[in-house]
């Protein structure tokens, strides 16, 4: 009753093409933005920013990147974390070696580096597809990890092979408190999400979906399949690269190549699948779910058993529940959490009246 489009007429093409065509959606989105930009910075504490919101936003960005490639263009990738690593280490080196490099400039350049490497490995999609592509992207994952560990120049000859991110200063403002870093990450993530949403509604986005649904058919109707796939690879790695740079600069500060290992790639893939492939919003829902699950289980575990049980056992049980939940989710909702959201919206049209 309250959530419906009845009576909302579209009188111009601009209104027809809005991201949120329904007034209620726009209001909800505005409220969300106000909450994220005003309410949370005022009320949140450092633990919330550092332990939860910043990594959540960054991983959402990486998931979004993977979703562009896997969800929209249909190319499976197990290399997202590798591209994050490229972003982080490239940003560090740009800051280190170029005098007077603005930090945002280095982020963008680093993401472009990641995009370039993504394209390089993406070239293989010219001939390879489906599960065969897993191996190619797995190769990129291990190769990047090896390069980052092997070549000391990349870490400025740090004896323990880690990079320590420089301070973030933009136009004389130092982003040194968790709250400020949160705002920086939030701004970048929101802007890039809006960009992704619009790109995916454009001709390129539709080409991607056509390639995903059936590449032979897409080719027949005149879509350049190879170029579409490559662009998807570039865009996806760009997003992952930015996420990696933010991970190093706005989240951990000191980062080693192992932070971007296969487990991270799998985690990002889980986020994309659980959230819902081919959905921008799903990236955020999935990231939130996968990130919060261990935290919630941890709290539940210590609440139920206290510290009487060996931590190793608790960790293993968490592992099992995590894996089982993934299988269960795939069984009950193969289209991800975003599908539940859509069902909820459908129900909301009638609520509070019975059907």
């Amino acid at each position: 009753m309250f959530y419906r489009e009845a009576g909302q007429y579209k009188t111009a093409y601009a209104t027809d093409q809005r991201i949120f065509p329904i007034l209620q959606d726009r209001a909800a989105f505005t409220a969300l933005m106000v909450a994220a930009f005003v309410v949370i910075p005022v009320t949140g504490n450092d633990y919330w920013f550092n332990g939860l919101l910043i990594p959540l936003l960054i991983l959402s960005l990486a998931t979004l990147g993977l979703n562009i490639l896997t969800g929209y263009a249909g190319q499976i990738s197990l290399g997202s974390a590798g591209f994050m690593g490229v972003g982080a280490f490239a940003a560090y080196n740009f800051m280190l070696r170029v005098d007077g490099m603005p930090i945002l400039g280095s982020f963008v350049l680093a993401s472009l580096c990641a995009a370039l490497i993504g394209v390089l490995f993406g070239l293989s999609c010219h001939r390879i597809k489906d599960f065969y592509l897993i191996v190619a992207t797995l190769g990129s994952q291990f190769f990047i990890e090896w390069v980052l560990t092997k070549f000391a120049w990349l870490t400025d000859y740090n004896p323990s092979g880690v990079i320590t991110a420089q301070k973030i200063v933009i136009l004389g403002v130092a982003f040194d408190t968790p709250m400020r870093r949160y705002l920086l990450v939030l701004t970048i993530v929101v802007l890039m999400t809006l960009a992704a949403k619009n790109v995916m509604r454009s001709a390129f986005g539709r080409n991607c979906m056509a390639v995903r649904d059936m590449d032979v058919a897409a080719e027949v109707i005149g879509i350049n399949v190879f170029r579409t796939k490559l662009t998807a690879f570039a865009m996806s790695s760009f997003y992952c690269g930015m996420a990696g740079a933010l991970w190093a600069y706005a989240y951990v500060g000191t980062v080693e190549p192992q932070a971007f290992d296969l487990d991270r790639s799998l985690q990002i893939l889980f986020m994309a699948i659980i959230g819902g492939l081919g959905s921008i919003m799903g990236s955020f829902l999935g990231a939130a779910f996968v990130m919060l699950l261990p935290i919630v289980m941890n709290m539940a575990g210590s609440a139920m058993f206290g510290h009487s049980i060996d931590a190793g056992i608790v960790a293993n049980v968490e592992h099992i529940i995590y894996g089982a939940l993934i299988i269960w989710l795939l069984i009950v909702e193969p289209h991800g959490l975003v599908r539940l959201w859509q069902i909820g919206k459908e129900k909301l049209r009638l609520w509070p009246f019975p059907r």
Binding site: L266, I320, A324, I327
Partner: protein, 293 residues
């Protein structure tokens, strides 16, 4: 030159071990079209179970049989709880489910058997002996013999036994197989159980080489380049692919690693397989798919 041959033979024999893991993948992929990411976890789980049973005083053959039973039970559970509810889902969902399965199996294995690393002694001495001036590891030869026996047994099973032929029918075409009365779920149970048995043999060989520890899961990932080199659907491909990967990896480590730094074993097989695929997109023995709109 002798050194070259030594490296080559060492690599080929190591490749046999990769083939063994790849074999488990191929069996499941052929029969159910599932890209089983959990094969590595199954290898670890089987080896852990076996080692712990032996440590509890069971004789070798009893422990072996008991572990086989456990793997069969696992196959039963997987079919019932994972495959059946996910029937007719896209391959991607099934692949994701097997990643979840891998996490569960690893968790259960470590919960039940603990997470410490075990040594495993099969009673085969790892002493190299000379063969025409080239040193060959005795253990590797043994592993190759085991792999050979396993492959022969499997191919006899697939070509002679009724169940084996039914499995081949399933691999060829699910619907056609069902229409002539082959029960698909039972075939899945059987093939997962066989994969479990292969995982046990693999786990024992790898375990006695590297110790039974978590690293086995990462080793098992090496089966992927082997697989795509050989083609997902071919048992022969798994063997040949394994040999090629093993040999090229060792040769690259020695001759290429000199110039670009060591430790390239970790990624070389993947890149090698990728480059190979650019030439032959379906692997050496994979079925060439004809695509229609």
């Amino acid at each position: 030159m002798e050194f070259f041959f030594e490296v080559l033979i060492g690599g080929l024999l190591a490749g046999v071990m990769y083939s063994l893991i790849a074999l488990g993948f191929v069996l499941i992929y052929k029969a159910s079209g599932v890209f089983n990411f959990a094969q590595g976890a199954m290898v670890l789980f089987a080896a852990l179970t076996f080692v712990n049973l032996v440590e509890r005083g069971l004789p070798f053959w009893l422990a072996f049989a008991a572990t086989l039973a456990v793997m069969a039970l696992l196959a039963l559970l997987v079919e019932r709880l994972v495959l059946r509810p996910l029937a007719n889902q896209p391959p991607m969902s099934l692949f994701m489910a097997t990643i979840g399965l891998a996490i569960v199996i690893e968790g259960v294995g470590q919960l039940v058997w603990g997470s410490k690393a075990y040594g495993l002694d099969l009673g085969i001495k790892d002493v190299p002996f000379e063969l025409g001036g080239v040193r060959v590891s005795q253990f590797d030869l043994f592993a190759a013999a085991v792999a050979g026996t396993l492959v022969t047994a499997l191919s006899i099973f697939f070509s002679r036994a009724a169940t084996g032929r039914a499995l081949r029918a399933v691999a060829d075409d699910h619907q056609a197989a069902m229409s002539i009365g082959i029960p698909l779920p039972r075939m899945w149970r059987i093939v997962w159980a066989i994969s479990g048995a292969v995982a046990l043999v693999t786990g024992l060989l790898w375990g006695s080489r590297l110790g039974v520890q978590f690293g086995l899961v990462v080793v098992a990932l090496k089966a992927l380049p082997v697989l795509i080199l050989g083609g997902f659907t071919s048992v022969a491909g798994a063997i040949v692919g394994g040999l090629i990967i093993g040999a090229s990896e060792k040769l690259a480590e020695i001759y290429l690693g000199r110039y670009i730094g060591g430790g390239i074993e970790n990624w070389f097989p993947y890149i090698f397989a990728m480059l190979f695929l650019l030439v032959r997109p379906h692997g050496l023995f994979g079925e060439r798919r004809i695509e229609r709109v």
